[in-house]
Symmetry: C2
Subunit: 130 residues, 2 copies
DNA sequence: CAGAATAGATTACACGTGTAATCTTAAAAA
DNA sequence: TTTTTAAGATTACACGTGTAATCTATTCTG
């Protein structure tokens, strides 16, 4: 089951840990360290600390399997990203998403694929809102 | 002239200050305090501290007008929001903006106006990329 | 079984941030 | 001119965060 009301904010470093946990779970801390090390050269003690903090914050939980713990997220990635996106867009773009996309467009950061996906989204939206 | 390479990150509270400064500048600290107080009940000493930190970070500068300073931003709002958006989308959505918009859509956070603006952006994009 | 390895718990510590209070000095008021 | 006010500078201080090292207890290994 998923925690709908985590206790606190997730820091940047904590998010990186959660991010690889979301990729596949349950996972031991060694699994997580290993996956993280594909990208970040973080000391294993550091990752353990971050895991503990996530647990304390009510964002991650674990089951004991002998000596090791099997960690799993208590919040869904989609829920988290949705909330973060909403608050980000609200802070920086007065809540309107189009100006954000405009920034990407005028920066040449929009791919054909992005545009196709956006068109599909709009089509869908229009079907639901006629 | 605009600073293309600010010294450091801008904190949340600092951003709020910068945000109202962008609305209209140059501005005295009292102007800024007053505008901020429409929304945030921040002590005037607090705002002064934040302004000093922005100056130290190379994000804001000022000219002396007698006793008071006239503050002005050294970075443009559009540049800042564009960079932040890019890094945000890269962190949370693997760099692709469509999934972010999808989150808004499936949360019923898209207005007709948003959709109109997105369509216009896409049209524009397609004209530039044929 | 004794020692080594290792998992998690606890402790550490500097730096940034939120949130001001106090200090210093110059200008305005009386 | 003396006093008051108010601008900015300096100082404060607790809490979160990044980044581990050390402690403790359990499980392998020989």
């Amino acid at each position: 089951m998923i925690n709908d009301n985590p206790k606190a904010d997730i820091s940047n470093a904590e998010f990186e840990v959660l991010d690889v946990l979301w990729d596949e779970y349950p996972a031991t801390s060694s699994d997580i360290v290993e996956r993280l090390n594909q990208k970040k050269p973080w000391h294993d003690k550091t990752v353990k600390t971050l895991l503990s903090r996530l647990v304390k914050k009510g964002v991650v939980d674990f089951d004991k399997a002998q000596r090791q713990y099997l960690y799993r997220p208590l919040i869904a990635r989609e829920d988290y990203t949705k909330k973060e996106a909403t608050s980000f867009v609200s802070r920086l773009f007065k809540g309107k998403v189009a100006p954000l996309v405009a920034g990407f467009a005028n920066q040449n950061s929009l791919s054909q694929q992005d545009v196709d996906e956006l068109k599909a989204l709009i089509k869908q939206w229009e079907q639901n809102n006629d």
